[in-house]
Symmetry: C2
Subunit: 496 residues, 2 copies
């Protein structure tokens, strides 16, 4: 019954969105992968009674204030997340944008059942001292096959925060080596570093942007400025924070205004670099997201990034592009920075989430001069590299970057239509690939839309103050877009 | 041929170490687990030609200065690590102390082949928002079944550094909530925290000890003081650093001297707490390892820790025991702090390595007051909890804590004998369980002994300036101890 309900909705949608989207006709020939479901199917409000009981149990052990519901991952398939109450939702948040090719993809199941892989899961090595035989090969076939332009070196890490922390360290080490002319450190430096004092622990800084999110460990957190709840009560560093451009959308319609805004921000960046140098806390590196995600899906133009990269070069700062959320194909290119069209886009590019392993690439010049400077026990996890290799195979075999580009266009077009239809509720639709977002008129409305949509089988994420963010997997096809738009349209139509 | 060579050595050892160790007789009836090898077996010097070729390949991608050799994890078994050149070594370093029950333990292989577990590996959830159905149960049967005294709450994390970073954050949040009387933060606090400034980002500190190692991300690194190479060129915090007692070994023979030294350090701790409060950077927490590992295997008495815990309480500082290396059974008790005999040993206990997942326990009082204060994308990895459950089953079924205690006694006894035999080379044998160490006369001698031992099939780790550290798995039996001592004795006998 529920399925036919949704099929009706899809026909309805067909009519509703046919205008202005040349892809809608494909909905009719929907090519559901054999392992996926057809549509959402809801049995209870979410969280349902089972989720609520489990919430109570987990609440005895942890703060569960952020838990939405409990999942049945065994039963989840492709774009559909199944919860413990048997509700099946179209998932366009994908574990905070970290599921690359949907749930239980058959290619990933095979990694698990291949007996050659068992040992990689069971014996987690200390990669920095005792790598497995196939480690160089696996890096070459996975991470190096997608290396950003100009980068041939990569260091794996366990998570996004560790990736950024170690990327920062790499930039500090590079900067100080430059400053001391690649000579050995003085005895005074060696002595003072042991007690956290300058010059051994120098007063260097990383320049970041308002609205940025680069993680929550203490180094990363000093460059994160998206929400107070992340930062309150945690000691930090006196590092410079530049304004990130506040652009008007759609970008094509505000080219001149946006260029002015970007110029203002770039000027401020240069001022801060000079000011912090004068303060005795020189900027060793600039860190930025290609699209600010957690901070509210804020975009900037290729021209902005290209000029920022030049400012970094001019002032001798390393340029670190944080692709933890933008990386992995979700913008329609494998890396967000590819949209800038630069041969030398960055000195460091960090990743995690959809790449399943954390880590960062860097240019040769930034390689650590000595062992044990960038180091920890595990240095990543080779079992994640196994999955990543297979994810990359699927992306290539199924042309998923093209799928993302196509679905992204349909999604953005649909969001434009919705905001035209509901101008009192929605505005500022924006996106690249399926990395899309739209603002509600305020946070209460945003939250209410999200809850209502969830109860109709659409699970979305939020970001910024009043933004809904769409972060589907790369296997999100056009007919999924139409399911999404259809449910959203229903919610908005009912909204007072 | 090689095997018989080692059998001869074991007989030799039998004679050599029979005196003073009541367990030696068991060597004769060695009960090798069915899945393990009998003895080391060496084919080349280490690193062999295959390792050297792989080193060259990996060197194109990463700094390989810390890589010892490449491993064949498929062929490794129990206490024996096999390298790519077919060398089989008795491994008493176990991936920097992170392999709990040896390589390819059949119980762990079964986790992989159980079809019920596949989904847990393939679909890594964002645990903080969408936990799997069995998450509370799995926590109860794994981490909570070994919770330290007085602690019923646990937060998983991906690695040791993230565990400590988030434990620090937990203490900062707790401390500030106390200071503001559990009221909501002021608008000024909310505003200033976004730009890294006080009072929102307050000038709080963590007190740590010289010689400590708590990780290498920027927050952790500010409490790490073991080697300059870890800290050089990385900005840090002005946080207080107390002296860790420099004890004389064996502890039983220097009770009075050691008590004096510990009293001196405790006095310094109190002075620093007062001084930093006056500086406007109050100590929110004290962090300490039950045995300083990376810093050179430095011990302190239960009395020292008990008094330190009281000092923390007296001054309103949280007390954080970092069990990343000491946890998991290696000292003969599951946690190093259990040797102190305290009902309320700590406010926070962090772990990683042998527990396969990172994380920390904390007392109820320190639970975060709001969601998203302690948060990241993955918040651990439930597939590691699956392995941990099985490891705990094996520890219980095979009485591995008793095995560790027995093997540890034999090992320490053997080290005492060796340092008596070679007083010009070895000194300061010390240990708890199999968490043992011995000093060489200098770093060059230490390094030479380690390389020679490795070429005879014994792979050990180092720490501090001139220390050899022993970190075998929990399945390290007495006959393994004798293999170890036998090889070490051969190396020392040959040493000029």
């Amino acid at each position: 019954i529920l399925m036919s309900l949704y099929c009706n909705r899809i026909s309805y949608l067909f009519i509703n969105f046919a205008l202005g989207s040349r892809y809608v006709s494909k909905t009719a020939t929907k090519s559901v992968s054999e392992f996926e479901y057809d549509a959402p199917s809801m049995k209870t409000a979410v969280p349902g009674p089972k989720s609520q009981e489990l919430l109570r149990q987990l609440g005895e052990i942890q703060n569960v204030g952020a838990v939405h519901f409990f999942c049945n991952y065994e039963e989840s398939r492709g774009n559909y997340l199944v919860d413990v109450d048997g509700n099946r939702m179209l998932d366009v948040y994908t574990q905070i944008s970290s599921i690359p090719i949907g749930y239980n993809h058959p290619a990933l199941m095979k990694v698990m059942t291949n007996p050659n892989n068992v040992s990689t899961f069971v014996n987690r090595p200390a990669l920095g001292i005792l790598p497995p035989e196939n480690f160089p090969d696996k890096l070459i076939e996975s991470l190096l096959s997608i290396a950003p332009s100009g980068m041939r070196r990569v260091q794996t890490m366990a998570c996004g925060s560790c990736s950024n922390e170690n990327a920062f360290k790499t930039m500090f080490i590079w900067y100080r080596n430059k400053e001391r002319g690649y000579a050995n450190p003085s005895e005074h430096e060696v002595d003072t570093c042991m007690i956290n004092q300058s010059p051994g622990c120098p007063d260097l800084s990383i320049l970041s942007f308002m609205g940025a999110f680069h993680g929550r460990t203490l180094g990363c957190l000093a460059t994160t400025h998206s929400k107070a709840i992340h930062k309150l009560d945690i000691p930090s560093f006196d590092w410079p924070i530049a304004p990130f451009p506040k652009l008007q959308y759609p970008l094509e319609e505000f080219v001149r205004e946006n260029a002015q805004e970007e110029a203002r921000c770039l000027e401020e960046v240069e001022d801060l670099i000079v000011k912090w140098r004068q303060k005795g806390k020189p900027v060793a590196g600039i860190v930025i997201e290609p699209i600010q995600a957690e901070g509210g899906d804020n975009h900037a133009s290729p021209d902005f990034f290209s000029k920022l990269r030049n400012i970094a070069r001019k002032h001798g700062c390393a340029f670190h592009v944080d692709e933890v959320q933008t990386g992995g194909g979700t913008t329609g290119k494998f890396w967000g920075h590819e949209h800038w069209g630069l041969d030398d886009p960055a000195d460091v590019v960090s990743f995690s989430k959809k790449l399943l392993t954390g880590g960062y690439y860097h240019r040769d010049e930034l390689k650590p001069d000595k062992p044990y400077r960038i180091f920890n026990t595990w240095m990543g996890d080779p079992s994640k590299n196994l999955f990543l290799s297979e994810v990359l195979n699927v992306i290539r075999r199924e042309n998923l970057l093209e799928v993302v580009t196509r679905s992204g266009k349909a999604l953005l077009q649909g969001l434009y239509t919705l905001q035209t239809q509901y101008p009192h509720i929605l505005s500022r639709a924006r996106g690249q690939g399926t990395f899309c977002a739209i603002d509600a008129c305020n946070d209460a409305t945003r939250d209410s839309i999200m809850i209502k949509a969830r109860n109709k089988g659409l699970f979305m994420g939020s970001c910024g103050e009043k933004t809904i963010r769409f972060r589907p997997a790369l296997v999100f096809k056009e007919y999924h877009v139409h399911q999404l738009l259809n449910i959203l349209n229903d919610v908005l139509a009912e909204h007072k």
